[in-house]
Point group: C2
Chain length 312, copies 2
């Protein structure tokens, strides 16, 4: 050690030991976005906490920007020095997950997928729960706000265009969103459903989608957002027009981030931290059973939903 | 590829190419805490954005819990497969930085340190700026709230105990905090300065420290916190006692996180995103000059500071 020898090379150690002591994380979106998303941060915090207690590091694979700023390829995770990969909001069709599976690395998803280990929720049933809440309140014209690359928040899709939208999600590896939307659409089968797509999962884009919906005649009496972040943007737009959430327009979210509780948002709460912890446990312990975990969810009714105007 | 051969092993690729295409990040605290800290998240978001554009990943080294829940050793970064290491809020004395330097990996700090490349602010001058603002407002008894492992927010340190406190920070590799405190103490040399130490950089711990200070007789007319997160906790405690920030008790923060602006906090704003971007640039491009970058700061005077009661 005195003469400039600093121990074996790190990559050589990995080759000899067969262990990198790191797990890779694949996200549905760019890293720079992930750190602005309370849901992703909550999941990542719980995931890293469990790994850290086991002395294992986290490799965040870069996501090259593709068309619309979304994943184009997965070279980085395809060559990363890791012992396994988790898909946080990245389903079986995501290029990074496909690349990891091709390397035969252990893969854990946070989406349901027959061919993978996962910790997930039943997004489809959760979507139905949200829709049934609104249908039960008498709403007949409902807006749906969801994120998708290339969406600009101005175009309104009819119900016949939804299947293509759902397929687009699956092609990106966004199975959770696809399943949610299918559940929502099922539960609102008898109603008028107007879908607007935002480019990103941000308040700004949620607000832009809401503006398009609220300009319609007849105006939707309820707006379903597929995430809390989008729903908080919808709330801003509703309030900026002097409308009262829960009275003039009902608004629902999805996830249960801390900001949603603070805003009194009616939302489908999923156990974010438990999801992150289970993902880490499944990666750390290949013998842990079961390998496909579905966690419970809960509709938390806040002040932002109420009976449809005129339905009382 | 048909017969189960999935390309060269990732670690072998690193050995051959000499490049891991990943930079390691060493934090001053556990990862699970980092994801709760708006300052750390802001820095990390900007850092990863620049790396991502260059197709480079981020390795978050696990930080084993030591006494008081803080860094105990640095085995993980000492063996990680990375091309370089950045210390985010981890100075030259941090065990992880010491381990990286021993491996002769490129190291970039976000603290000033003669022997390293860095992007930093002048924490000492910034501390003085905060102190001078309060001294100029006529405050004579000032509380100082800072984070340090083992602090429980109840013990009040006199000025003679501050040098040992500063040394404790440096030993942990928390040079930024050490420098801030020295600057604050210098600028308040003629005043009564009462220091209370919190265990973690959280609102709860900031609030606990504030409670101890506000129970004193005479009560400090101003409280300086070394971070915005601690200051937001101080504000909560001030308000919970029916006291008005900026009138009965002045409160200052440090960093300039979004929540600080929303709260109208008087704070020393540092360019968080620029710090993260510069750290990434210095790691990516060894020929980039200068290698020691000091970014400007600004005192943003909000509504939480005002003339000392009785001084008008």
């Amino acid at each position: 050690a005195e003469l400039g020898y600093h121990g074996p090379d790190a990559a050589g150690r990995v080759l000899r030991s067969g262990r990198a002591n790191a797990f890779g994380v694949v996200f549905a979106d760019r890293l720079s976005y992930v750190f602005t998303d309370p849901f992703a941060i909550g999941l990542l915090a719980a995931f890293t906490e469990v790994l850290e207690d086991a002395g294992v590091g986290v490799f965040l694979a870069p996501v090259p920007a593709g068309p619309g700023g979304h994943p184009a390829d997965a070279a980085a995770i395809g060559t990363a020095v890791v012992d396994g990969v988790v898909g946080l909001c990245a389903g079986p069709g995501h290029p990074g997950i496909v690349a990891a599976a091709r390397r035969q690395l252990p893969v854990v998803l946070t989406d349901t997928a027959a061919e993978h280990d996962y910790v997930s929720i039943d997004d489809r049933a959760a979507g139905r729960t949200v829709g049934e809440h609104l249908a039960g309140l008498g709403h007949r014209v409902v807006g749906l706000v969801c994120e998708i690359p290339g969406g600009d928040g101005t175009r309104v899709l009819g119900r016949d265009e939804l299947p293509a939208q759902v397929e687009a999600y699956r092609a990106l590896g966004w199975d959770d969103a696809a399943n949610r939307i299918e559940g929502i659409a099922e539960s609102l089968a008898d109603l008028q459903l107007l879908t607007v797509t935002a480019g990103r999962n941000t308040r700004e884009d949620g607000r832009r989608c809401a503006a398009t919906l609220l300009d319609r005649d007849p105006r939707p009496t309820a707006v379903v957002a597929v995430s809390d972040v989008l729903a908080l943007g919808v709330l801003e737009e509703v309030r900026s027009r002097g409308l009262v959430p829960g009275q003039d327009v009902s608004v629902t979210g999805f996830d249960g981030i801390p900001e949603a509780r603070a805003a009194g948002l009616t939302t489908l709460v999923q156990p974010i931290a438990e999801k992150g912890r289970w993902a880490a446990r499944l990666l750390l312990d290949p013998s842990l059973q079961p390998r496909q975990v579905v966690l419970p969810t809960e509709l938390r009714v806040g002040t932002t939903t109420g009976p449809a105007p005129g339905s009382r």
